[in-house]
Every structure is written in C-alpha cells, then in structure tokens.
Amino acid sequence: MLSSMLLGRYIPGDSIIHRLDPRAKIVSVVLFMIIVFFANHWIGYGLLILFVLGLIRTAQINLFFLFNGLKILLFILIFTFLLHIFFTRGGTTLVEWGFIQIDSEGVITGIYITVRLVMLLVITTILTLTTSPIELTDAIERLGSPLRKVKVPIHELAMMISISLRFIPTLMDETEKIIKAQSARGSTFMTGRLKSRINALIPIFIPLFISAFKRAEEMAVAMEVRGYTGEAGRTSYRELKWQLRDTAAILVVILFGVLLYMVRM
C-alpha cells in the first residue's frame, strides 16, 4: 500500500510540465485552487475535468497509476460525499426512511464537491510528481523571499526542508536496521494486543531518536567547518531560469479561469 502511494512522490520525466520553472508551477497550482471554486454547475465542472485530464496527458502521467496512487484517500472522498447527501436539503426528495432524508440537491452538491476535491488532489499531485523536492524547496525560498521583510527566516526554513528531505532515506534505512536488530532479540511488532504492540514500538523509536540527534550534531559540525554561517554573504549554485513558457503556463491557467467564470450561472 505504501509503495503505491503517490502523495509527495517525484517521478523524473521530460514532459513540458516537468521542465517548467518550479515557481511557475507553484503559482499555477495556487491560481488553480482559486479557479476551482468558480465552477458552479455541470458545464463548469465538465471543463474542469477536461482541463485536468489534459494536464495529466501533457505531464505524461499514467491515468490508472495516478488514481491507483490516490486510492488511499478514497475514504475521505466517500465521507465528504455522504455528508452532503445527508445534510443538504432542497430539490425533490428522493428517499425518505426514518430520520434519513436524501434530496436531489444533496446528491448533486455531493458529486460537485467530490469532483472539486478530486481535482484539487490531482492537481497538487501533478505538481509533486513532476517537480523534484529540491526544485520545490528552491521555489519556496525564492517565492517566499518577500517574507524576509517581516522577519520570516525563509532561507533557514528552506534549508531545513531540504536537509530533512535528504535524510528521509537515511532514517528509513536506520529504522529498518533497528527493527531487524530488535526482532533478532525476540521482540514482535505485528502480533499481540494493541497495547503490547505500542509498547514494542518504544525500543524502535528511542534508538532512532538517539541516532537522529547524533547525526544532527555531526551534520552541524560538518556544516560549520564548511563555513556555513546562515544566509548572509551566501551565493546560490542552483539557478532558476524563468522562460517564456513559464509565463505562458500561468497565462493558460488565468485564461482557463476567465473561461470558467464566463460559463457560471
């Protein structure tokens, strides 16, 4: 289940979406999140679905692969759908059974809201699927740089994100090693009552925390001797180049927004 999960995963590729400037992608996604709310009837939602399907095609992402990866969120979607079916009133009453009443308006709103959620999920997944974590961090740092004026330590935040991301595989390996070591000493994690299973996790987390702190300390020394003193006087090796296609991408999203606004009823 974890291996098929797509949230936050990056899959290298060479589509036009992959090659867009990460800043353009983030700005587009934020715009899209607003635009989604323009749709208020079936034409709008239809256009929304078509637009997102087009994006998936352009990004060369396998449709089945994408929805399979988002299956984990199915529960939330069903929950939202049911919530609207049961609590939205209006239109003709379809079912009335005891205290449960389902109206036609409820079914329609339920479908609309679920489609809206799915579109939001898919669009953000397209962003993370086509943009490497380091590009995302870079983009956040650049886009967030005006926040420096109000004393938000944006460089430090970006540095923290990038180092955390860099350590995820290392700590995963470490966790696996500790689990094996504790299993070899006879501890079991998968059987027994909930309480004993939770107790069995303690001997995994404590060594993991200790080693994470040790790593952090060594890392700090290594960064210090390489002359890291924070943002001041630092230059950047990575370069983000804004190109015509990035402006074009944002324009496409805006035009789509205008279109969606025009078909509102």
Binding site: I163, T170, A222, Y237
Partner: protein, 262 residues
C-alpha cells in the same frame, strides 16, 4: 607550515587530559599520518586545529598566523575536513549541490562554483554521478564526494578524520589512490588520521599518539624501525611488517621489498 606548541586540552575541568602538552610541526605539502587508538587524542587535536573546540592551553599556528577567537573564520578557510560517517556530512540534495555547498558559503560567483565543482568531481572520479542523490551512492562514493567538496574549497590543509574507517576494503583503496593522486598533483598538506598502520605507507611523516601524548614521530622508516614504541602503542602491525619481524631482521620493508627479500 603548521605549528602546534605545548597544546593541552581537557573536555571537562576535572576530566583527564585529552591532549597532554603536544608539540608538532608539519611541512607544507606533506602527507602526514596521525595514528592512534580510540581515545588517543587524535580527533581532539584536529578539532582544536579547526577551532571547533575552545578552552585549550598552548598555541596553534599556520604559516606564522596564530589561531585566536578573532581570526577563527578566516583561519578555518585554510582547512577542509572529511569526517568518518559518509551520511552525516552530506548536506546537498545531489552530488553537485553538496560539492558546491562550501563554495556557496564563501559567497563565490556562480561561474566559479560551476568550474570548481566540475574540476573537484573530476579529481575524485565522480563527475558521472553529479546529479545523483546521496541515497543512490555507496559509502565509498559518498566519501569521494566529501573529498571533492573539500577540494573545491582549495584548502591549504586537507584533513581526513578516520575517513575510511566505515568503508569496505575496495572503498578504502579507492580513497587512498585518490589521496595519492592529490598528494602528487597539488601542494595541499594532507593530514590523515587513522588507527590502521597499514594505511600510512604513502605518508611522508607519521605521528603515533597514545593517551593524549605523542609517543613516536618521524618518517615511515623511522616509525617502523622503532620496535619498542610500536609494541607500546599496541597497534596492529601491517602484515608485511609482521612477516619481516617473524622471518627477517624486523626492519621496515615495503610490500615489494618483502617479496624481493623472501
């Protein structure tokens, strides 16, 4: 030239001396090995030289300039260091980002960084991996990237603090080959810290430490012919020396000489 005079250091006021009145001097461009067991003080010595630890007595100077709290930052720029654990010193998200990290900190223009990064990766045979993430590299490859990151900063002194101790034999011999190459082609002073006498064959000068004191120093021939001190240091002799002591006169021989004499 690096000069260390009467250096004494304790980690805590009531702790035993981690370094006990050490005086050493290393020539520019030499490959110096410092050998000792855990707790002999060899890593402490390096940390003091780089100004990571404070509160010592004695004096450390490079090319006549004495280390003080005021010139710490500038002093450090002469040194680059590669630590033991390949994972805990990899800062960048990819190989090239990591090599450029130190250069970014120095505030160099991008063109210089690109040039130096490429040259440094070339020197350690890792150019083909420049866009790889650390998770896809072996321990030996990560250490080679760490050396590249150090070289890119063009230090006067390159310190390797047990940099090979977590590597497999192949990774170790790769590292030693690269260091040999650096030693031949550059004027960088190499300070190589190890607990393995088998790794010091290529050094120009060696220092054996025990319990915070220097018990022997000199050329490799001198170190290996001083049999009593070697026994006192309780270090494991390299195999050609063991054979020399068992079958020959016990004097220093290299692999080739041993073969010739047998």
């Amino acid at each position: 030239m690096i000069k260390i005079d009467n250096l004494t250091y304790r980690y805590q006021a009531d702790a035993p001396k981690a370094l006990d009145d050490i005086s050493l001097s290393f020539k520019t461009g030499d490959w110096v090995s410092i050998i000792g067991h855990n707790g002999s003080g060899k890593s402490t010595l390096v940390k003091l030289m780089m100004g990571i630890l404070e509160g010592y007595s004695g004096e450390i100077s490079v090319d006549g300039e004495v280390l003080t709290p005021d010139n710490l930052q500038r002093f450090r720029e002469r040194f680059a260091i590669v630590f033991q654990n390949p994972d805990n010193q990899f800062v960048g998200a990819t190989v090239e980002d990591d090599v450029a990290f130190g250069l970014e900190n120095q505030g160099l223009p991008r063109e210089v960084m690109l040039e130096r990064t490429e040259a440094a990766l070339e020197a350690v045979n890792m150019l083909a991996y420049r866009r790889h993430a650390p998770a896809r590299l072996s321990g030996g490859q990560k250490q080679r990237v760490a050396i590249a990151g150090a070289l890119a900063m063009e230090p006067a002194v390159l310190i390797l603090d047990e940099a090979t101790s977590m590597l497999d034999p192949e990774g170790r011999s790769d590292m030693l080959a690269i260091l040999n190459d650096i030693h031949k082609t550059r004027t960088t002073t190499l300070i190589y810290i190890t607990h393995d006498l088998g790794e010091i064959e290529d050094s120009d000068y060696a220092v054996i430490m025990k319990d915070g004191k220097v018990i022997s120093e000199g050329t490799i021939e001198h170190i290996f012919s001083d049999t009593d001190t070697l026994i006192e240091s309780r270090l494991v002799l390299p195999y050609q020396m063991q054979i020399s002591r068992a079958l020959l006169d016990g004097g220093y021989v290299t692999h080739d000489e041993l073969v010739a004499r047998l």
